[in-house]
């Protein structure tokens, strides 16, 4: 049976990205840990903005680099507003868009900033903002979807991955939704080699650069029949149909429960959570209901998930803050390279279903490659004992065998590396 301190660490690992040692040391009970992880009164991190780029130089030399990744990782390392960090990443995974295709760092940045704005807010508003997000319109081919040539990509994925789940709609529903979503564009801005602005395909003076808009000439204004609702549905109308469908609340609440708790919800629990969620789609109350359910800190939930590379590196940086004199650029590019190698680079989920999870992260390739993440921390502090290392990494209940392995070396660096590779650290 897990100790109280392990449960406290578990709360921070699951409601945040890692169990920050400072938080851990100053928390007395599970309920206090939940209160503090859900506390949004700390400084708002969403105020960070970047200017709309005015030239290729600004796109590729200023913004299109390591800065967004480092900024995001450092926000996760910070011990404030843990749940906002957890959910911003959750929605990035749920509403996955990738810079590999979107190909514009400003659109990607704004997409994730929008996710952060809505992360603990209202799912309906979040869904509607995502559908009009320039990054999503580019990623799932919304900008190619017109009455003259329907493109089903977003229509299918929004039902399969974002709202209903597979099997709850038909191919005619996909076509109807694609028609309702047709005509949306992004006001792209480009430049020639002399940095003179050149018109993008869908440029409009009355729309902000890299804003989205509906081009009525390309919208299918006929009657659509979507999941039993018929009418001249537009984008928000169609999304309202999806939100009204009872499967959506069950699908999203079930996925969030699985993310936070690590196991599938018991049917009666899920039914209650989904029913409450569907009444107003408020996200934070759903999270709180999950966190206050006894199953959240039950033994079956503790270490029931495989720790992701992002969770690994964030916890490392929380445990051993960066102090070495290394330039931001070296650190930034190093971090980008490490996460890219592990398939977990922020802003680049591998496909619309998000990042790999679970035992897919336990392949020998990922396990051995993950040791490279240790490069993210400085030289190990001198004189670290086994207990020091475990404490910094938020590992409380540790098997005798694991402790013996760590005790088997006196070198602090190797102690840290072994704790990093321990069965306890590989799970979360």
């Amino acid at each position: 049976m897990a100790s109280e301190r392990e449960r406290i660490a578990h709360v921070y690992r699951r409601l945040g990205v890692g169990a920050h040692p400072d938080l851990l040391a100053s928390t007395a009970s599970v309920s206090e840990a939940i209160d503090r992880a859900l506390d949004l009164s700390g400084p708002d991190k969403a105020t960070q903005t970047i200017p709309v780029p005015q030239s290729w130089d600004e796109v590729y030399q200023v913004i299109d680099g390591y800065e967004p990744v480092v900024w995001w990782i450092e926000a996760m390392v910070d011990d404030g507003r843990a749940i906002e960090e957890r959910l911003t990443w959750f929605w990035h995974d749920h509403f996955a868009v990738s810079a590999h295709k979107v190909d514009h760092p400003y659109a990607m940045w704004e997409h994730v900033r929008m996710l952060r704005d809505h992360a603990t807010g209202n799912f309906g508003q979040l869904l509607k903002a995502v559908a009009k997000s320039p990054a999503m319109l580019a990623y799932l081919d919304g900008i190619e979807n017109t009455v003259w040539g329907l493109n089903e990509n977003f229509a299918r994925e929004v039902m399969e991955l974002h709202t209903l789940g597979v099997g709850n709609y038909t191919q005619p529903d996909v076509v109807a939704a694609a028609r309702a979503f047709s005509g949306w564009k992004v006001n792209e801005t480009f430049w020639d080699e002399n940095d003179n602005e050149v018109p993008g395909r869908f440029q409009r003076d009355d729309v902000a650069p890299w804003g989205s808009y509906l081009e009525l000439d390309d919208f299918d204004d006929g009657v659509k029949q979507l999941l039993g609702t018929s009418g001249n549905l537009g984008m928000d109308d169609a999304l309202d149909v999806l939100l009204d469908h009872p499967r959506t609340a069950t699908f999203v609440a079930g996925k969030l429960y699985r993310d936070l708790v690590g196991v599938d919800a018991d049917p009666p629990v899920l039914e209650r959570l989904a029913s409450d969620f569907r009444s107003d789609y408020e996200i934070l109350p759903l999270v709180e209901a999950i966190a206050r359910d006894p199953s959240f800190v039950a033994d079956g939930a503790i270490r029931s998930k495989v720790r992701t590379p992002v969770e690994k590196v964030v916890t490392l940086l929380q445990a051993f803050p960066k102090v070495r004199d290394v330039s931001d650029e070296d650190f930034g590019w190093g971090l980008v390279g490490l996460l890219e190698q592990l398939g977990y680079l922020p802003f680049t989920p591998p496909n619309p279903a998000g990042y790999p999870k679970g035992n897919r992260l336990l392949g020998p390739g990922q396990l051995s490659e993950a040791f490279a993440l240790l490069n993210a921390i400085d030289a190990p502090p001198d004189g670290m004992t086994t207990d020091d290392v475990l404490g910094r990494l938020g590992l409380v209940d540790v098997s005798d065998r694991s402790r013996a392995v760590l005790d088997g070396t006196r070198d602090p660096g190797r102690k840290i590396a072994l704790a990093f590779g321990s069965p306890e650290y590989l799970l979360t």
């Binding site: 079956g300 390739g365 396990l367 030289a379």
Partner: protein, 430 residues
């Protein structure tokens, strides 16, 4: 899914870097390995150990042969790979993405013009073209379709079809019997009583550990203490088994791949990135002493050509041609040509009628089975381009499990019924 617009990788590749942290220098891998494994099920169940239904090792006699599966992720437009150019309906359906200059095979079908070297192999009788391959009741979803292809069963399963083959042949006895090349292990290779090693590239299981670790080998030796060899596998958790397998496989794999690494370090990067790079790793493994039974190459999701299809798909066909050629040329050079057969898979084909620049999700597709042991020619039956299903998609003529049964029985000599949990028609490819 996401077709790649071009070969740029905005976040990282435009920079000449990487100055890593400490002494580490990493190469910027813009691999665009866009499809990776997907898991909807809870991790508790997936972290569970051997199940009672595990096929015991030794059920299938081991063979000294390798099956290489090449997954074309995203839904390959088979109609642009093997083109029904003799069918006038093709031209009506494909005003914007049709291919006017296929390499004719028999007056009815032809290969994409970028598949010239594959066409030569077809001429030499080493390529089986299996047409009309699909799944029943297709739902056009990438993820549930992939899941069905990986599982090879009608009901969702926690193991994959090749994982069950590995369970029933070598079990845990041979840790290098199943290797995936790409981003993470494939669900198709996950068994419940065997091990699968995944590698990203020729580096195998070597890694860039920080400067303050003095001896990587000693670190890995100490790391193996979390799963001591005197503890039976059955008493280890999934995580501990993974540690055991990783430490045990590391050195052996390093030996197998070191010749290729040396070649690459000398500047010979063959045909570069993409399939060719990964299939060269696969070929190196096949050409080594005690080759793996199964190699699974995956991670290329660029086949999801909803838009800009000709540019993207033409490029992928060139890479496919280069990849298959590299694979067999490497085997030829090592005198190991007879050891391997290569089979392509993809979760579905694409809609026969194009969408003005691209194609949406479809159903039946075409598979290639390539190797010296193959009886070259056409198999299956081309689906009608006129009698489409209610969604405007092809009606499949061959269950995808027939292809699996064909390579299981015909190449790996493992009766397919237990692995696929049903009986399927075997195509006379072998």
């Amino acid at each position: 899914m996401t077709p790649r617009n071009d070969d740029r990788c905005p976040l990282i590749s435009r920079r000449q870097f990487l100055v890593g942290l400490g002494a580490t220098v990493l190469t910027a891998a813009c691999t665009s390995k866009t499809i990776t494994v997907f898991e909807q099920t809870s991790t508790t169940s997936s972290l569970a150990g051997t199940t009672s239904s595990t096929i015991p090792p030794g059920t299938f006699a081991p063979v000294d042969r390798t099956l290489v599966v090449l997954e074309l992720g995203g839904g390959n437009d088979a109609m642009s790979m093997v083109i029904p150019h003799g069918n006038s309906r093709y031209y009506d359906l494909r005003p914007s993405v049709r291919i006017d200059d296929p390499i004719d095979l028999d007056g009815e079908i032809g290969l994409h013009p970028n598949l010239g070297r594959l066409a030569a192999r077809y001429g030499a009788g080493q390529v089986a073209v299996v047409e009309g391959v699909g799944i029943h009741d297709p739902d056009l979803s990438h993820f549930s379709s992939m899941r069905r292809w990986w599982d090879g069963t009608d009901q969702p399963d926690s193991t994959g079809w090749l994982g069950r083959y590995l369970d029933g042949s070598v079990g845990y006895e041979d840790l290098l019997a199943g290797i995936t090349v790409g981003p993470g292990p494939s669900q198709a290779m996950l068994g419940s009583g065997s091990f699968v090693v995944n590698i990203a590239d020729a580096r195998g299981l070597t890694t860039d550990i920080p400067w303050w670790i003095d001896d990587p080998d000693e670190l890995f030796a100490a790391w193996s203490g979390f799963a001591p060899v005197d503890v039976p596998l059955s008493e280890l958790s999934a995580v501990e088994r993974a540690i055991r397998g990783t430490t045990a496989a590391r050195a052996a794999l390093d030996t197998k791949l070191s010749p290729l690494r040396r070649t690459l370090e000398e500047g010979d990067d063959g045909e570069g990135d993409g399939f060719a790079k990964d299939l060269r790793v696969a070929a190196q493994l096949v050409a080594s002493d005690s080759p793996p039974k199964v190699v699974y190459v995956h991670g290329y999701g660029d086949f999801d050509t909803h838009e800009n299809q000709r540019a993207v798909h033409d490029q992928m066909m060139a890479e496919l041609d280069a990849g298959i050629e590299t694979f067999f040329a490497t085997l030829d050079a090592a005198g190991a040509t007879d050891r391997a057969v290569l089979m392509t898979t993809s979760e579905f084909g694409r809609r026969p009628e194009d969408n003005d620049g691209g194609t949406d999700h479809g159903t039946a597709s075409t598979q290639l089975i390539v190797g010296a042991a193959v009886n070259g020619g056409r198999y299956g039956e081309p689906p009608s381009l006129r009698r489409l299903d209610d969604d405007g998609n092809l009606v499949h003529t061959v269950d995808f499990r027939s292809s699996y049964a064909t390579v299981l029985d015909g190449w790996l000599e493992a009766p397919h019924q237990e692995i696929l949990r049903a009986e399927y028609e075997i195509l006379p490819v072998f």
